[in-house]
């Protein structure tokens, strides 16, 4: 029999990859749904198992085809990748568990089996990007995930969905191509594609100018995939016109995995010495994030479509993660990594709430949601709790990461950044409150609301699972913050921020 434990890293990626074509061969609706749900659940279990093994035995290496690295492709699970894979697979499973009624309502029945195949491929791509230790393999998985998500987005109900998908396809391909050009230049300089091998061979002190070009191309390429402020234009349309389930899954995971790839690039390959001391990456990231947070938050305030509102809010939230990376102390990096996790829960949860409203009201326009708290009290309450998390109110997950970032900003002597963060949270209050006000305090019910009833229990339960997780991880921080701190410490050199002495991040809230 096979030794399952030693094979876990590859099974994490290979099982969903294997299940996707089976979905296409099987066809039908229920069988493929059950298969994909089982696969997502199994994948989550594997990710948890891997995370536990990493905690016990340290970093796991797996050689594909038994080819020794740097010649073969190596899979690496360390605290950071384990953490990201855990929440990506968790959200994939929960969103699919929640999504059956929504999928039935929004996606043509003849396309269901293809939908599940794409969903699994999308998850494969995301997990592969996290687990692989090979730079070209990152590109391959980035493309698997992107192509699957273009297809998923184009399944939306309106005719604008394919257009939004095409827009994303064009920008996403440009981003991926930039990333590939960067990989090519690095390969030309070092003759290897294994990340740790490149890091060892790259002469960042006296190396050729090519290094700067490679770094620039890869950074900009990932900026597109992360939807960093000036390069975010694909995101609002894609999130707005995609089916609700797709939006919930993609919004919760895809941009975070790109942030993960960016962290790997900056701290794992080029090393912080090069990125922050020789190159002005810190100033660039902080500047773009601050402008992005403000512009996107203000844009969110003026949206009538709630999906689009949340999409702009996503652009703003990516800004917080990049602020954490840009200030580059152990604590802010911890905050950035924790915010990846917390925001995945919050935004995943909120988009699931929107999915419930869309199912019952048939629209994601705010004007059609007037007074929905009367007929859909549980769904509305979930919005309120998730919204508090998005603002960053104490006792929610959003507070934990923002608090860490805020105190980190003071310690890094960036009081301006701290002030800007506080002000931007007020903007979040405005756009979250607008929806709450419409739901709870509208005098007149909209016609759609009068005919509506509460969302089905099978959607509410998984949705509350995520929403309650927002509260749980706002109170119980050792797991999320502890893992993120461990990851941040492993990424930065030991004497990087000797000025920052107080590392007791776990007790912050």
């Amino acid at each position: 029999m096979i030794d399952v434990f030693s094979q876990l890293p590859i099974l994490l990626v290979a099982i969903p990859l294997f299940a996707a074509p089976i979905c296409v061969l099987l066809g039908g609706r229920w069988l493929t749904y059950l298969l994909s749900l089982t696969v997502c659940g199994t994948t989550f279990a594997i990710a948890v198992g891997l995370l536990q093994q990493v905690g016990k035995f340290g970093t796991i290496h797996y050689e594909i085809g038994n080819w020794k690295p740097p010649y073969g492709i190596e899979y690496v699970v360390d605290p950071l990748s384990g953490f990201v894979m855990m929440f990506v697979s968790a959200l994939a499973a929960v969103v699919l568990l929640y999504g059956k009624p929504s999928i039935d309502a929004e996606i043509p029945r003849s396309k269901h089996y293809l939908f599940y195949a794409c969903y699994l491929l999308c998850m494969t791509g995301l997990l592969g990007m996290c687990i692989t230790g090979d730079l070209f393999n990152v590109f391959v998985f980035l493309e698997i995930n992107s192509l699957a998500s273009y297809a998923l987005i184009s399944l939306g109900r309106t005719r604008r969905a394919p257009l939004a998908a095409l827009q994303y396809l064009i920008l996403g391909t440009i981003g991926a191509t930039f990333f590939l050009i960067g990989i090519g230049l690095l390969y030309q300089m070092t003759g290897t594609l294994n990340m740790s091998d490149i890091a060892g061979r790259l002469d960042t002190e006296t190396g050729p100018r090519t290094l700067l070009v490679a770094f620039g191309f890869m950074t900009v390429g990932l900026f597109v995939k992360m939807a960093v402020f000036p390069l975010h234009s694909w995101l609002p349309n894609s999130y707005c016109y995609a089916p609700s389930v797709v939006t919930a899954f993609v919004a919760a995971t895809a941009t975070k995995v790109s942030v993960y790839a960016f962290i790997r690039l900056v701290f794992g390959i080029f090393k912080p010495d090069f990125a922050f001391e020789q190159m002005p990456l810190g100033a660039l990231l902080i500047g773009l994030s601050i402008v992005g947070i403000f512009v996107a938050s203000i844009a969110a305030i003026f949206q009538d479509d709630v999906k689009r509102l949340l999409a702009y809010s996503s652009v703003a939230q990516i800004g917080y993660m990049l602020l954490g990376i840009g200030m580059a102390t152990t604590q802010t990096l911890t905050a950035g990594i924790v915010h990846m996790f917390n925001h995945a829960l919050i935004k995943g949860g909120l988009f699931m709430v929107v999915g419930c409203f869309v199912l019952r009201l048939g629209s994601s326009r705010l004007s059609d949601w007037r007074g929905a708290a009367k007929t859909m009290p549980w769904t509305s309450l979930a919005w309120a709790i998730g919204g508090l998390g998005l603002i960053g109110v104490p006792m929610t997950a959003g507070f934990v990461s923002k608090w860490l970032l805020l105190t980190g900003a003071f310690q890094a002597e960036q009081p301006l950044v701290a002030g800007v963060m506080l002000m931007s949270s007020l903007l979040a209050v405005v756009y979250v409150w607008r929806v709450v006000e419409t739901l709870y305090f509208s005098e007149q019910l909209s016609p759609a609301v009068e005919k509506s009833k509460e969302a089905p229990v099978w959607m509410l339960v998984p949705m509350y699972l995520v929403i309650l997780a927002v509260v749980v991880f706002g109170v119980w921080t050792p797991f999320s913050v502890g893992l993120a701190a461990e990851a941040a410490e492993s990424l930065l050199p030991t004497d990087w921020d000797s000025a920052v002495t107080n590392m007791d991040a776990g007790g912050a809230p």
Partner: protein, 154 residues
């Protein structure tokens, strides 16, 4: 209606050779230039040529769209299945029995009809390339069908 007899007859003569060349590129890819990607495109080009000369309905009879769609998945399944198979087979030349890693072709060693059937690394590459070939053929055909079958929406 003009029937273009020369084009029809030349096409009928050419298609078997295109297919044969495709198979050559596919299976000789183990020893020389070639492989699944190139072979897949060549084989698909035979179907594309057929449907351009004899019309889309005739091509749908030869290669029904639903079969092609399943073939897209089958090729990937063959590739990934080869990977899984090597995880269930023992790694050769080991003192303690250890199973291979994912896609470890060496674990596919066998003694069945030696010299005729490929074995070991060769068998692994053979199967994987066959998977690639099937998927690429099917994808090229399905893309062509998607564009050719498009009707103007009123």
């Amino acid at each position: 209606m003009i029937s273009f007899p020369i084009i029809r007859i030349v096409t009928k003569l050419l298609i078997p050779y295109i297919l044969l060349f495709g198979l050559y590129v596919q299976f000789h890819g183990d020893f020389g230039p070639g492989g699944g990607f190139q072979a897949g495109v060549i084989i698909a080009s035979a179907i594309v040529l057929y449907s351009m000369v004899f019309g889309l309905p005739a091509a749908h009879k030869v290669a029904p769209p639903w079969v092609i769609e399943k073939l897209v998945a089958a090729g990937l399944l063959l590739y990934a299945g080869t990977g899984f198979a090597s995880m269930f087979l023992p790694r050769p030349n080991q003192d303690v029995a250890v199973n291979g890693n994912f896609l470890e072709y060496a674990a596919l060693r066998h003694n069945f009809l030696p010299g005729i059937l490929p074995t070991d690394q060769h068998l692994g590459i053979f199967l994987v390339e066959l998977g690639v070939g099937i998927t690429v053929t099917a994808v090229m055909i399905i893309i062509f069908y998607a564009f050719a079958g498009r009707r103007r929406v009123a």
